[in-house]
Amino acid sequence: MRIRKANDLKWSDVTPKALYVNRRQFLAVAPFMAAAAAEALSPDEARAQGGLPKLDAKKSPLSTTEPMTPYKSVTTYNNYYEFGIDKGDPAEYAKSLKTRPWTVTIDGAVKAGGKFAIDDLIKPYQLEERIYRHRCVEGWSIVVPWIGFPLGDLLKKVQPTEKAKFVEFTTLNDASQMPGVRRPVLNWPYTEGLRLDEAMHRLTLLTVGLYGEVLPNQNGAPLRLVVPWKYGFKSIKSIVRIRLVESQPHTAWNDSAPQEYGFYSNVNPTVDHPRWSQATERRIGDFFKRKTLMFNGYDEVASMYGGMDLKKNF
């Protein structure tokens, strides 16, 4: 058994002050917690939940030790408007998504791009399990054991040229599989983008699974991005194209409401959404709200934004 020493502990291990200070109220409202919280399984019980093909992944030191959100919540509370705008819609309607055969096009300012069958694309890489916090712009958050590999490894392989400054991602846009795209709630196809250094950062995960299994459709199968220090809508789902580009790409939410959703969208409790505060969040399963952390607690990304006005570049 590995005995943890004091210097093993990270800030992410610290019980949030709000929870600690309110621990007695916490107990007093326990009956409400039963109503408010979804059933919590042990991580191992939760891992066998989906009945989907299992994935072998090595553990990562970049994982948080915060309690994971129950599998049921992670897979039935989703924003995936291509399958409907209610939180339960993706779980209900995403069955129509065909995840094989699946081709990912990697093009743009690269030397070794091409069209890849997804299984060939991910074969060379060792899968890791990264337990990340995931914070939605709406003000709720979850902790998910994602399975994937660093996007940076793939990008290095396709050899970006000097022209490559940003990475643009595109989601599948197919009305026959995705009933929600018949409504122009957003401009389809859904696109997202990262600055090249953000894409190359070791935290940025090209993701193929969660909770020890392949991704369920509603979570962005078969391939999605996870960028844990940004609001969840930047973690684009069901990727069909990765393009290296020179200028900042269009992103779906920024196109939809540029004054509300910026290109960077770093989790930032000091920069409010124009219509609501971002200072606190509801961790799914918790009764009390908690303070939102700068960069969602992933302080190591701060160096990428040194000197940037994060209120302007929200």
Binding site: A38, T69, Y77, V185, L186, R282
Partner: protein
């Protein structure tokens, strides 16, 4: 439709039907059937039921004028009070489960977040209406003044729709739908009121020279 027994029956049925969303919500909450974010679900449900009952209340008079069913007016007070009931639940869900009675934070929110400003105003305007909903108050204020006061429901209805529209991320279809329904109900009243006005110009022309 005039017997006391029939009136009691109708009001009881309406009462039970109007209470059922709240009963369902409480049941769903305690059997953990509200999904991963139950507090958000409760907030949303109590909000839309407030809007629905406001709309139902506004629909009574146009319906009565169309059908001649005067007994409908007996249900209007109950529907209005249920709108206030759901509005109160919605307000308490926000002030307790979302804000944990942080009065400072709530005042700041009401002043700073426009969608909360209009929502809070819509709710506050219902309070005098709920308090003066009895026949005793109609007598005390006199019919004309009472009617004037209760026209505040028009403001609540409009602010309620704006509140909903300003809080959705991108799906404006639902708030717009409520806006259209309430717009039609208010338009119906406007049209009726305009039809009731005498035409002064005609009287002048009729004067012999």
């Amino acid at each position: 439709m005039n017997s006391k027994r029939q009136r009691f029956l109708i009001k009881s049925v309406v009462f039970l039907i109007a209470l059922s969303p709240a009963c369902w919500l409480a049941y769903a909450a305690f059997t953990e059937n509200l999904g991963a974010n139950p507090i958000q679900a409760i907030t949303w449900e109590t909000g839309v039921w407030t809007l629905r009952f406001v709309a139902a209340t506004l629909a009574i008079t146009p319906l009565r004028r169309l059908t001649g069913w005067n007994w409908l007016i007996k249900c209007r007070r109950m529907l209005g009070l249920f709108a206030f009931f759901y509005g109160t639940l919605h307000f308490f869900t926000w002030s307790w489960l979302d804000q944990f009675f942080d009065w400072n934070g709530m005042v700041k929110d009401v002043l700073k977040r426009p969608y909360i400003t209009v929502g809070f105003t819509a709710f506050v305007l219902m309070i005098p209406l709920a308090l003066t909903s009895t026949t005793g108050w109609i007598r005390r204020l006199g019919g004309k003044r009472w009617n004037r006061l209760h026209q505040l429901i028009y403001v609540t209805a409009i602010l309620g729709v704006i509140h909903y529209y300003w809080l959705v991320k991108a799906d404006t279809q639902r708030p717009i739908r409520y806006g259209v329904i309430i717009g039609i109900l208010l338009l119906a009243r406007l049209v009726y009121t305009m039809r009731q006005k005498p035409a002064p110009a005609r009287a002048a022309i009729v004067q012999p020279s």
